[in-house]
């Protein structure tokens, strides 16, 4: 297994952080009880400084010594006794190393991105933010292909979620325009709220599938909680300050009915 990181583990850190110990410790629930793949040997690579360390005591183990239980116990002892190599605590040299790595590795099946931060959202790669989910994904991958090397990438703490407003799809233009007109009609103040509310069942029936959802994105791409299409359409009727609705993306089912629509609202802020 390779553990790839892009920043110092901390100048004041002299032991391996707990979460790294958990990532590196092989689990007993994998397809085989022998550590013949995936983990051995363990390399920890600093991509920002181009240096690495190898936890090499696992090499050259034979027979029963490669049983996962044995290795896990040995590894625990290793972490208790070992102080962190300066390779892992030296200061960062290249700040954009993660982005470059991400660009070439984001879709590889043996590469798992993990972050200790609970706040990363809307990233454009598969991110594991809990150790159990990471462990489960690694095990599944090993069971499918026991010959591959597992690479766990620690997303640097400085990495921020990028606002991810769905891309505009010109092929959807005419349909989007039609939906846009429907939204506009429901918020048209020249008709009474009662008349507009009474239109909603027809709109739902004509355009939306049964459990359709509406996702509102704010102007910089922050995603608000999803809501049912029916609830959202009802909210439009009383939203007097609504100026326009920008449609980003429309997802339709095999019958052409919308099951998810992603939008941004624009408002007149003063009455």
């Amino acid at each position: 297994m390779d553990l790839v990181c892009f920043e110092s583990l901390g100048p004041n850190q002299n032991k391996f952080p707990e979460f790294i110990q958990s990532i590196l410790a092989p689990s007993e629930n994998v397809c085989s009880k022998r550590l013949t793949f995936g983990y051995d040997p363990i390399k920890i690579k600093r991509r920002d400084t181009d240096k690495e360390i190898i936890i090499d005591y696992l090499n050259n183990r034979q027979g029963n010594q490669k049983k996962i239980k044995f290795v896990a116990r040995e590894l625990r002892t290793y972490f208790e006794r070992t102080t962190l190599d300066s390779v892992l605590t030296n200061t960062t040299r290249m700040n954009n190393a993660f982005e470059e790595y991400l660009n070439t590795n984001r879709n590889k099946e043996n590469v798992f991105f993990y972050s200790e931060s609970d706040e990363l959202s809307d990233v454009d790669f598969t991110l594991y933010s809990s150790l159990p989910s990471l462990n489960e994904a690694i095990q599944k991958s090993i069971c499918i292909d026991s010959s591959q090397k597992i690479i766990v990438v620690l997303v640097p703490s400085t990495y921020k979620s990028k606002p991810n407003i769905p891309e505009h799809d010109p092929a959807e233009d005419s349909y989007s325009m039609s939906i846009s007109k429907v939204f506009k009609a429901l918020s048209d103040k020249t008709e009474s709220p009662e008349e507009r509310i009474n239109k909603i069942p027809n709109v739902l029936d004509s355009y939306f599938s049964t459990n359709a959802t509406v996702e509102v994105f704010e102007t910089n791409g922050t995603r608000m909680p999803s809501q049912s299409a029916a609830e959202y359409l009802e909210s439009l009727v009383f939203l007097l300050s609504l100026d326009s609705i920008q449609i980003h993306q429309v997802f339709t089912d095999t019958e052409g009915k919308i099951y998810n629509i992603q939008i941004t609202e624009h408002h007149k802020l003063v009455r």
Binding site: D118, S192, I197, M224, H267
Partner: protein
Amino acid sequence: MNSKGRLLNCVLMQVFTLGVISAQPGISEAQFKDFANQAKRQVLVFFDNVAELGANTVPESIREKAISNVTKVFTVNGTVEERSKGAKSGISRPVREYLNVIAQRGQKAPILVSYDFVDPLTYQEFKPVTESDGSIVYRGEMIVKQYYCKLKPKDQLSDKLDSNCSYEDTTTKKVTVEVRLLKSQTGKSYAVLISNIVVLSVS
């Protein structure tokens, strides 16, 4: 305070607010700006629906939808305070109860509501608060002004809008909003909800 004092005060405030923002890992400035926008949107939902409820132009079944729209932009325990001109203290009610009162009052004498954002929430003003379960929510406040007019009976209404109110006031209100991270199967999203509205002054 002299000009140097004001300058120092301003610098200290900048340092303080920057400190608050930079202490919040994982949430970008752009996201805080979005939270501020969404907070305004939720206040607009509140005022727009209250205006419709008080105008008494829609039947009861439709009014119930307006009430439902508003409760969705408040936290579960959200409250709204109301205070009349001259009164020393106001009455704070759970949001649904407040809306029912407005709707019933509107049936007797329609009201008009207008509003303005006097001091909108900006992205620097969110502060992290740790909840009892260890989760972090971000709180922010904004100041709005609401104009309220209880209309005279129909036969007494004139073309002069100024003289059509049997009672009118302008209240300055403080709206507190909170931002909560939600996780679901489809990913992470942020709920921006009003937790309370209190009256600061009535004129």
